[in-house]
């Protein structure tokens, strides 16, 4: 069955089982492997993408359910102002260690900053607690979100 939706601003159409999780549709059918598989059960956040701007877990989202909607992945998030700022902060502070969780961390951080432009530690912890970092880069994730918040309004 053909399923149509928008990915990173571009119209896409794939013919797969609508039950297939969005995670695997992105990775296997749409050539976007930046979104990662960590647990397949909504427990780690590695697969976080945006559905119409909100952070969702792609491993638990049947691709058929996003028909007609708009998905943003790590490959396209830098096109958002908050995405660009988070990316820059992540680079400057060298947030990643192994890097595997970071696509999910960045997607959750961008969703947070879009909703709460200047979050405090409690807001950061609440928004990011679903994203596991096995390397424990949490000190820098907090700092990265604050740095990205601070650079709001700064020129691209």
């Amino acid at each position: 069955m053909a399923i149509r939706f928008t990915v990173n601003g571009a119209a896409r159409e794939i013919d797969v089982d609508p039950e297939k999780p969005l995670l695997w549709a992105l990775r296997e059918d749409l050539g976007l492997p930046g979104t990662k598989f960590g647990c397949g059960a909504g427990l780690c956040g590695a697969c976080t993408v945006h559905l119409d701007g909100a952070a969702i877990r792609a491993c638990l989202t049947p691709v058929g359910s996003v028909e007609g909607q708009s998905i943003t992945t790590i490959e396209g998030v830098a096109a958002l102002d908050a995405g660009r700022r988070v990316g820059e902060a992540w680079h400057t502070l060298d947030v990643p260690q192994c890097g595997y969780c970071q696509a999910g961390q960045i997607m959750s951080a961008v969703a947070l900053l879009t909703e709460v432009p200047d979050p405090d530690d409690a807001a950061i912890d609440a928004a990011m607690a679903g994203n596991l970092c096995r390397c424990s880069t949490y000190v820098r994730i907090r700092a990265g979100i604050k740095a990205a918040a601070k650079s709001r309004g700064a020129a691209a």
């Binding site: 930046g34 397949g40 790590i74 060298d94 192994c98 596991l132 096995r134």
Partner: protein, 726 residues
Amino acid sequence: MTAAMLSRRRFVGASLLAGGGLMFELAVPIAAHAADGAEPRLLTAFIRVLPGNRFVIGGKNAEIGQGAKTSLPMMIAEEFDVDWDQVTVEQTHADQSLFGAQSAGGSRTTAREWLPMRQAGAAARQMLVMAAARKWNVPEDGPTTASGMVKDRRSGRSIAYVDLAPEAAMLTPPDPSALKLKDPAQYRIIGKPIPGVDTPAIVAGKPLFGIDVAQPGLLHAVLETCPAVGGRFKSANLDTVRALPGVRHVLTITGNGEAESLLDGVAILAESFWAANKARESLEVAWDDSAQAGFSTESYAAQAATALGAKAASEVLRKGEPDAAFAAAARTVEARYDYPFLAHGTLEPQNCTALFKDGALEIWAPTQNPENGRGLVAKALGIAPEKIRINLTRIGGGFGRRLMNDYMVQAAAIAAKVPGTPVKLLYTRQDDFRRDFYRPAGWHAFAAALDGEGKVTAFRDHFVGFGTGEAPVRAGELPGAMVPANLVDAVLLEQDLLATNLPTGWLRAPGSNALGFVSQAFLDEVAEAAGKDLPSLMLDLLGSPRALAGEGRGPAFHTGRARGVIEKVVAMADWQGRGKLPKGRGKGFGFYFSHAGYFAEVVEVSVADGQVKVHEVWAAGDVGSQIVNPLNALHQVQGSVIEGLGQALAGQKITQVAGVVEQANFDTHPFQRIDATPKINVEFVITDNPPTGLGEPALPPVIPALVNAIHAATGKRVRSLPVDLA
């Protein structure tokens, strides 16, 4: 390096690149690192000098987040005398005959590579200086270098490295050991905070990891193995599964009985991972697990209790006169400690891609230990090692899990059954938890003898671990050189070893992650009995600065370096002022020496309603004279501290019923989350010792510091992990 060694190597030297530029391949002898047990080898480092005076430096070690893909090229670039922003790093493939050891384990990389990497850079630089001197007809000691340029101050001439390519290509590399290396005061790259070379690609979501490997015609494989590790295949409904949508092959894999290599399994190959894994839901396998079904967490605990109540099966170490010292003690302190099996839970599940074609194998593997994998694959499949090419991908977390290469052998065994088709094997999270090489559980009955002055006169540990006969399992040894056994005159270490079907392995700071907890938490009890605090007791035990022999080929232990970090952290954490903390709040201390690194740490907690909150951690470490990359060094210590806190507080344990591991995902084997992350203060004590690694030594002390803090806050001793104050 002798001429004979040089001539054995085809490419050593500099050669012109097609399209302009220059390729240096420089062989530098690397001293055998004692703990590797390896012969001295040659290391080939490569540097490509490209048009535009840009430089590509080979990164030879697998990157698991420990930072070696950045730090080793930094060492080369420093002595090559180029600017870091002129450099890009290219991951090499696995070939220890070319690159020397490429494993990422034991925090050994920094110590092993520190000299040869700098020598390789210096040798390449020297060739460019020689080339310029010839071109300009000046003495070789005249020209200087900076930022990829050779300059001659007297004549004011300067030339880019790339423009010296024709002349340099004619030269023979100098003897690296005869080169003068930079004075550290002149460093412009080493010692500077440098972000990871892959950080921009990670942030952009580029395919870097093993799971991202793409090949034309690739099939996706899932592998079912016996839930009780080691069970044998009997039968399965293979034809039913073959008929399911997307499924291309269903194969039985006959193992060799070794978990490190290959166990029996059923592989499902499909056009997508999802299709393969969905088909797996219909797979029904009958296993023979009669040899495994008797193993359980409950039975281990019962056997350990029995063993600790009886005379130990064997002595590991008897030093001095422990029996006499205990008989003469003014006071004896005794306590029992234990800790569970743990899983690694790397966030990228184990995976490997393999293609078998024309009798040769090509492998793409996120492995910490590629040559071990090559050997296992060669042996299991009967393929000559030189017919196996291993490409190294970035690795989504190692922590020691990927020192094992079972997933590589499995992928190769599956690929060998479908020649010409590349196959990517991927574990589900449940596979990853069930097919781990676990940190082994252990039980310790400690005793310490105190004399009338509160001095420790004897130390005893009756350890119950796992093993066969007197041989402990991997990562389950009781080392005679552990602190405090190496500091006390009369010592008795003895052990009983239980059988298990669970394969065990190295988890970040193996051995030490458990022994640090039990020994330093017990010593906190001893200190209390002696009317002291633990830092003071440790300083008493350490005595005057001197080197004590290490375990086997392990590093020596220097009491002065231990004193240095203890004194440092006591000052950093305002240890003496801890009496001013409010009720329900406390500070605890822990010290440990592991992987050649010295760390002392203080943890501050508060406890309310049985809930522990960690507020702040102070860590002081001594890993020698030079922190290669301070940014990454800080990451390693932060990561180790949080991981250690998680082992104690997140509720981690692997339990087993009827041979089968019960935990299947991050809900039942949790790791620390951002909301449990305290403030972490890190300082390094710089001493005149060769630099050593930082991936592990900061982890062990944080666990005893935590439980000692819980005691300070509540009066309760935590003698079993994970922490449960209910």
